[in-house]
């Protein structure tokens, strides 16, 4: 089963959830997952846009009480 690490980027503006994901994905193994917690609704669109462009895999994106939980799997 894939290992999953969490980046809690709620309430942070700089560098922000997507930049944290880009930094964090370099630190996990291929096949493992990162879950980004974001209070910025823009993350729900800009994270999948980058993930798809680079070729990683979107696992899920859900919103709970104003917090987006976005799970990405490293593929390369």
């Amino acid at each position: 089963m894939a290992d999953r690490k969490i980046i809690d980027a709620r309430g942070t503006f700089c560098p922000g959830p997507l930049m944290e994901l880009i930094a964090g994905i370099k630190l996990i193994d291929i096949g493992d997952e990162l879950e980004v917690l974001s209070s910025d609704k823009g993350s729900a669109s800009d994270i999948p846009e980058w993930v798809n462009k680079v070729g990683h895999e979107m696992v899920s994106s859900t919103e709970e009480q104003g917090v987006w939980h976005i799970v990405v799997r490293r593929t390369k």
């Binding site: 700089c14 922000g16 930049m19 944290e20 880009i22 930094a23 996990i28 846009e49």
Partner: protein
């Protein structure tokens, strides 16, 4: 209480001095002791490297003797730590000496790692070390014209460096009468020009005025120095004549080898700054994995909050406040105008249009910094 501070950069130094003042009585009576271990007897004002790179500050202006910055009660050793034993409250340093503690703060900073992108280190310039800044100035002063590409790695120290490099280089070549010979192409890892949306919006207007082109969602993958092309993870490319890099950073290698955190970033509580799983071990500054700016001001405000908490732990046995995520960044908008961004975990930044007065305050702060390091400002 034996307090051990590992790292003599901005965060460690401000913490040591602030704490020393708060614990005057306890230090005098022997109830508390502060020891600092650093890798160098010199303290560098790292934000000054930008000005060295532009030929506007001499290298020796960046340095002070570390011991001269510290309160006399702080015991200072140049003896970098090689082994951390957080469960045993002990570190072992390069000298072979073991240091015991009751409370430890790790503030060892971060380092640029251009070598992690194939071809980047040997085909680009950056401003992250003294040697790199001097090489930067030599390169731009000999540059005869062409396409300048700014490329940004993640994570990086000082989030304002990408726009600052672009704007100050533009003015540098304007002053040399070369704007008809150079063009600027700015790339950035996410889908806008800066991680802070208001800063990105402001940059768009500034870029339009200057004719700076840009490409977002551009993360460096490889540099082909022979053909002068930088390739991105997103399968695009940018041709350059001069590649100006903001390389990705890592925490210190010793933290990775001691398995304190992936990438050398130590996981800490974002408010209390204690290392996960430890009540008597803390980290501040670039060293942490907190998802906020890796910047001197972050280290500064974290150090102040932690000094207050450690002092209260000594005096009343408990911390009294949270770090609120405060960050303050100057933004040089050219050679003689600047603005700033200030924000915390709850309040987004609201940068104002650049002015000459903010630029001159930044110039003044380059000297005032030494009062900040001493814990006075």
């Amino acid at each position: 209480m034996k307090i051990l501070i590992v790292g003599g950069g901005m965060g460690g130094t401000i913490l040591a001095n602030n704490l020393s003042r708060r614990l005057k009585r306890e230090l005098k009576s022997g109830k508390a002791k502060i020891t600092m271990l650093s890798a160098s007897d010199q303290h560098m004002y790292q934000p000054g490297l930008l000005y060295v790179a532009l030929g506007r500050m001499a290298v020796d202006e960046l340095y002070r003797d570390q011991a001269s910055l510290l309160e006399p009660e702080v015991e200072f050793h140049v003896d970098p730590v090689e082994e951390f034993n957080l469960d045993g409250n002990q570190v072992k340093a390069k000298s072979g000496k073991t240091y015991d503690y009751d409370l430890i703060v790790i503030a060892t900073g971060s380092r640029a790692v251009p070598e992690t992108i194939p071809g980047l280190a040997e085909n680009s310039i950056n401003v992250y070390t003294e040697q790199a800044a001097l090489e930067f100035y030599k390169t731009i002063s000999e540059f005869n014209g062409g396409r300048i590409v700014i490329a940004v790695g993640v994570p990086h120290k000082c989030p304002m460096i990408p726009p600052e490099l672009t704007f100050t280089l533009y003015d540098y070549f304007r002053d040399r009468g070369m704007l008809d010979k150079v063009s600027f192409h700015y790339t950035y890892p996410i889908g806008r020009l800066h991680s802070l949306e208001p800063v990105s919006d402001w940059m768009q207007g500034e870029f339009a005025q200057r004719g700076v082109t840009s490409e977002t969602l551009f993360n460096m993958k490889e540099v082909d120095g022979a053909n002068k092309v930088v390739y991105s993870e997103e399968e695009s490319e940018a041709k350059y004549d001069l590649l100006v890099a903001v390389p990705a950073h890592k925490g210190m290698e010793v933290l990775e080898t001691n398995k304190l955190g992936a990438g050398g970033w130590i996981p800490v509580d974002r408010n209390r700054l204690n290392i996960e799983g430890h009540d008597n071990a803390f980290a501040i500054g670039d060293t942490t994995n907190i998802p906020i700016s890796k910047a001197g001001s972050t280290a500064h405000y974290e150090a102040e909050a932690l000094a207050e908490n450690i002092a209260s732990m000594v005096k009343i046995g408990a911390p009294v406040r949270d770090y609120d995520g405060k960050v303050f960044c100057f933004i040089e908008a050219g050679k003689d105008r600047a603005t700033y961004a200030m924000f915390n975990y709850n309040k987004p930044p609201d940068p104002k249009p650049p002015t000459k007065s903010v630029h001159w305050f930044k110039m003044a702060y380059n000297q005032l910094y030494w009062a900040t390091a001493r814990g006075l400002l």
